[in-house]
Subunit: 341 residues, 4 copies
């Protein structure tokens, strides 16, 4: 059976596993105060071009989103996000559980439009009853989005501009950030993100680590008491060095981008084959997630060969499906699957 379900089906990249094994018997202090974690932080800040930033390491994406958003918002504020955003759909209400509303705007191919955010904020303060409504306190975007799409540098700049003018923060969920940075044709670099966002995270779980997300706080005056908040959210790993070791490895010799690049290459091969067979795209993605609309019969046939997920609920005749590659996807598997199309 081939697998294109998702990008967290394996363990970790072999180099990551090797480092975990090599360091296994060492004794270090806990809770991320060790030297591995400090080096990982330093490598990431360098890669981001940040002089005055801070990096914290958490275990998973949902806990990272909830902890960051809870930290950034005042009690009367909510987070602006798209209808397709992960925090709005697939975190079992983790944001609301911290007391904050997700303020939903429409999306265009999974992306939030700067002009929509601007209009929303303008209209909000023009409404005479605005103090009876949840204040827009920050903006959440994902890059790549939940549909695999990417913001252009211009789009990111516009969003950042709207946020800064309104005095609210911009937070980028980078659960699959590597696959975005390694995409062909993208004009957005890690340094751009670090310059234009206030907080973002670099996803490890889906890009080579066993688990782990690196939260980058781009200026020291943002979230100065984030550490106790991590503890309060149950997100502080006792053996914190496990996160440090993994990210130190991923950010040495560009491993993070290199392995992401492989995934993207495999995804492009798959995409071109699917397009070549005449399948219709659900959305055009340049990253490791590919969305196509397939006849249900075809889905049934292909699911005998490979596992992959319907995107939402089955339609009557045809259904959008998602194919995902990752750093561990073997080219021979992609080729085999293409042979069955």
């Amino acid at each position: 059976m081939l697998h294109f379900d998702t990008d967290y089906m394996e363990g970790a990249h072999p180099q990551v596993m090797r480092r975990l094994l090599e360091t296994n018997a060492e004794r270090t202090v806990g809770y991320g105060r060790d030297e591995y974690t400090k080096r990982a932080e330093s490598l990431i800040l360098d890669a981001c071009g940040l002089d005055n930033g801070k990096v914290h390491f958490l275990v998973g994406g949902t806990q990272t989103n909830a902890t960051v958003i809870d930290g950034l918002l005042a009690r009367h504020e909510g987070v602006v996000a798209t209808d397709t955003s992960h925090i709005n759909n697939h975190e079992t209400g983790a944001i609301e559980a911290t007391g904050h509303k997700v303020l939903v705007l429409p999306s265009e191919n999974g992306k939030l439009r700067a002009e929509d955010v601007k209009r929303y904020i303008d209209d909000f303060y023009r409404d005479e009853t605005f103090e009876h409504m949840v204040f827009p306190g920050m903006v959440y975007i994902s890059h790549p989005t939940e549909l695999g799409t990417l913001y252009t540098l211009e789009e990111l700049r516009s969003l950042s501009g709207v946020c800064r003018k309104a005095g609210i923060t911009l937070y980028l969920d980078g659960a699959r950030l590597g696959y975005g940075l390694a995409a062909e044709g993208t004009d957005v670099t890690l340094k751009d993100i670090a310059r234009l966002c206030d907080v973002f995270y670099i996803g490890g779980t889906k890009v080579g680590a066993l688990f782990g997300e690196a939260v980058v706080i781009t200026r020291s005056d943002i979230l100065p008491r984030f550490y106790p908040l991590i503890k309060q959210h149950g997100a502080l790993l006792a053996k914190g060095r496990l996160l440090g070791i993994q990210f130190e490895t991923l950010f040495t010799d560009d491993l993070y981008i290199r392995i992401a690049g492989h995934a993207v290459k495999m995804a492009m091969k798959l995409k071109n084959a699917l397009l070549g067979r005449g399948y219709r795209q659900y959305v055009d993605s340049p990253t490791n997630q590919q969305f196509f609309i397939l006849p249900n019969r075809e889905i049934d046939r292909l699911r005998k060969i490979a596992s992959f997920e319907p995107w939402g609920v089955y339609g009557e005749e045809e259904t959008p499906v998602r194919f995902v590659t990752d750093w561990a996807t073997k080219e021979e598997d992609v080729d085999e699957f293409i042979g069955h199309l």
Copy 2:
């Protein structure tokens, strides 16, 4: 200046004030354990035709919604409501502040369609990832709705049926319930509501009381520990008898319905005059709130004579506005305003 802004601009109905004054010097136990409150509860349960219900009195609508919804939902559940619902828009996130998501469905003239709820619940459990989403734990409707419209008995029955089949509760926000019950042509009675809903409240603030909402729990197995929850939400009035006295008065000799009927009559007069002058309805309402789309110039002119509210943000040329009558609206004021149309 005439006033059609809203239905909470005066104090209380004179009979309510008289009773408050007559009883002012009496000494009673606090927190709703007094005899006035017991009698008010009894009168309301009678009017609802409930043998096994319970009534609690709270001060205002937002606190009532937050306390009831927080009590009815488990932690992983959210409340299904329309995009136009009060809890979704005008309570500064009071529901989310208790940790629960508002699950938004589209509305038709302010109303929630039973078939939309059914489809939402069906699709939810058919989605393979449903445990990563907020569970639909209850349904919230308002009657009259935020747009002044009313459910028919058939619509209410369908909603109730969908909820009971799904094993979730139906809660009705009756901030303006009197104006709904007193509307011409409605086939929904208080007893219908008590039979078809699990919990609902009878609004006093907008229908003759200084303040106060009567929460009716229709069966004793629902919300058995609601009282400490009222306290926890800061919604337990120390001098609880003030609520008992007001509702005892309103539910004696049908005062509640009679004064609501007057408001509806005034609203119909206003509506017919506006329609007679050729103004376009934003929505057709049989209750005390009337929504029309007026040219901005006309709004400016009329606001010199009477205060009333734009419904949302101003449009470029024309804007929906709301005219509200209540139990205290004088017919001469309505006539004077009509004279200016």
Copy 3:
């Protein structure tokens, strides 16, 4: 039957009721934006000697405590309070329901000692694991305390000094503030409180109003977005002018202090009589609450004549009880009760 249970057994002071009646038919905007509320705010700020303060009016004490404390604290912070404090015992966890821990220190006659707060904060930051603990973010005191006792000016100054040095806020719960200000021998004035605290509230419910608490924010940079928070907590009264009218009346011609003074006088008469009969004080209070330890037999006998409350759970032989007077206590009732001692 005589009543010394508590100070919220009647309605409002006759002058307050008269004003509510006189203004009943007027039409004003809602939610505290009316002129009565503005005048009440202005009168209170004058009485407090504050140039740059702000006053908000809420309905009850628990909701006031929860809203203020939730607004003042960051997510990783808790509120320091005594073991006997109202927020720690008798609000069904309203503070914890907003996500914050009550950090309990011992009390001395119901009071918090400045040196205990200082030591707690010092020890907190000296503990190597402090980021795993709830940060002391503010201090809560009540004046009079739950045991009727009063801080001296020196004690209040010390507490304020400790808080300011530590950079945390001092909040004073004045549910019975009038009875404290009117006590004989107190050297603490309203202006002292306004100067030494960051936020406090002036209790109306127990001192002449039907209901209502005036939250005084002593500087404009504290709680700048308190208004939407009031709404979120369900604590924004639709007919907000009811609060404005009541406090305008209470703060005209010193009514608030005058009626409180009567209650204190009655309490002193009762206290002296009880002491004269040889009863033992549970705590010595100069305000309207008097605590004595009585043999259970004596309690049974006296409860046939007057209602009053055991303080906590009954002991085997004797039990502390509380006698409360208020602005409405009649001297003849006190005399009659004394006759039975």
Copy 4:
């Protein structure tokens, strides 16, 4: 430098690491739906003697406590625990962040006394104002306690009896459960715990795993919707099999108990040596944590040889300190340290 700071300073037991490595390249479904996790659950239920139980795997202790307690309590309820309990002191208010109060009772050598719990519950319901207080909804204990001490079977039975009679749940925090089960002289087995508690967890982080805690729900009617709650708390590991693989390894051939037994043996050796040198115990612990009161000078001297932690804030002359062994402690290190005493 020798290390006796704590029991989470290394990676995982070599057998655990080996299994993680062997399975690293496999592709499995995520979120704990894989076969490793199912086998681990089955092994644990067998070890517990449970026919009708359920096991969920989470990453760390604080998140486990917060998720379980949040799931077990209704909104008006709090959790009864000792003053020395981890949830009361060292989780940065994670329990309160979910809206629940920790109801603190005194401890005896870190243990909660059944008679204290009984009296607390009895007094609670005898208090006339109990609905204004946080209801005791469950009891939290840790075994071993934060002071390394153990409940006897009789004590556990009493606590369980008190809880069942009161209709509230008993939850046991087993962060160091292995060290308790492996202690000499204990009469409490895993099956006893499974029979007497409603929910408990078996700690992996401190007993041989990289990370991970196995929550055992002893009957299927408790916490039926725990899975979405794990997601909501950000505690659902994407690569859930990592937890399954670790616990499958630990519960094969008694590895969990065997490695814990080694740690206890090392702790006893250390304890006897310290006692032999005349040092005073802070508390007598039969498990892997040893608490002694040492002169500050002696602490300074010994900290040059080995790292270990002061227990709380330094005293003027002497200070309690903690020495911790674990599955990885080398006997030669213990011997070397003893040589320096």
